[in-house]
């Protein structure tokens, strides 16, 4: 499978481990960064990782940050993405089987390596089983109007980064 992966600077080591883990299992991995521990902002990587999935370039996405919340919310703001933030294997199984979730999110400071690895295995192996109920639910989610201007726009967050670089946000 082709997996799009992304993280923030808090869990870069975990993401790098997961890139190796997935590659060793024979998957092709698109690593969207971040690539070091320099302070950065999770929406950049949530958006990038999710867009590879919504465009069809990747089959599924995996995002990690400290709690998993920030980067999963960011991924979920991309049209067509159903990002499942999970802390256990059964929730990941359900999210794929019944919600056809296409991005899996976990917190690197919340969940340990063993559970994270097995959650990924389960998420990738579980097949979506369409029912009338799941079909209706996904259609309803798809019907929510979404901002499409952001898709593929790599300058989308520049105004905030400029403000940050000019000291417009407190550093604490």
């Amino acid at each position: 499978m082709k997996i799009s992966i992304g993280c923030d600077h808090i869990v870069t080591d975990l993401k790098n481990h997961l890139v190796d883990y997935l590659t060793d299992k024979g998957h092709e991995v698109i690593d969207n960064g971040t690539y070091d521990n320099e302070r950065t902002h999770y929406p950049i990587y949530g958006k990038k990782t999710a867009e590879k999935v919504s465009s069809g370039e990747a089959d599924l996405g995996i995002v990690v940050c400290g709690t998993g919340v920030g980067i999963s919310v960011s991924a979920n703001k991309v049209k067509g993405i159903r990002a499942a933030l999970v802390r256990d294997i059964e929730t990941a199984r359900y999210a794929k089987k019944q919600l056809n979730a296409n991005v899996l999110a976990m917190g690197g400071r919340i969940t340990g390596a063993g559970v994270i690895e097995e959650t990924i295995d389960t998420f990738l192996e579980t097949k979506y089983e369409e029912t009338e109920e799941s079909k209706k639910l996904i259609e309803k989610i798809e019907s929510i109007p979404m901002n499409e201007e952001l898709i593929g726009d790599e300058q989308y967050f520049d105004e905030f980064i400029e403000k940050w670089n000019n000291g417009g946000y407190p550093a604490n």
Binding site: H41, V69, S74, N76, A84, D88, L99, G107, I141, I144
Partner: protein
């Protein structure tokens, strides 16, 4: 602080348990899905509206796994919602993500843990500071 609570049918029992628990602690809790039989989409949509319209400061939404409701709520503009199953995440997501809604899975967390998660969520305040750039970015997305 005004707290809204909601659920689909699977989350009904835990919702009623948590509402009673939080009221006993003195919190002002309103049931956003009282006497309604909604699916998780409609219940999560209701919760997103309550927060968008500032009818409550925080909201708690319960379905069987929590994950479906959080996907739905996060599709709405200005909403930052976290599916949580531990107290630490419940606190940190308010402090760092300015989260106003948490979702819980009635099939995932037991009553006691759910009580503590809600307490941690309600007691936490947003840290602001450097975290605001990320919140601004997310809110521009949709």
């Amino acid at each position: 602080m005004k707290i809204a609570i909601a659920s689909d049918e699977n989350g009904l029992q835990l919702k009623n348990h948590l509402k009673a628990h939080l009221e006993k602690q003195g919190y002002d809790v309103s049931d956003a899905t009282s006497n309604q039989s909604l699916d998780l989409f409609d219940a999560a949509t209701e919760v997103a509206k309550v927060i968008s319209n500032k009818e409550a400061d925080r909201a708690i939404m319960i379905d069987e796994y929590g994950v479906g409701s959080s996907i739905v709520a996060n599709k709405y503009k200005g909403i930052i919602c976290a599916n949580v199953a531990d107290e630490h995440s419940a606190e940190m997501t308010v402090r760092h993500n300015s989260t106003k809604i948490i979702t819980l899975g009635s099939g995932i967390v037991g009553n006691k843990l759910a009580e503590k998660i809600c307490e941690a969520f309600i007691k936490a305040d947003y840290d602001g500071g450097r975290h605001q750039i990320r919140v601004d970015m997310v809110n521009k997305m949709c």
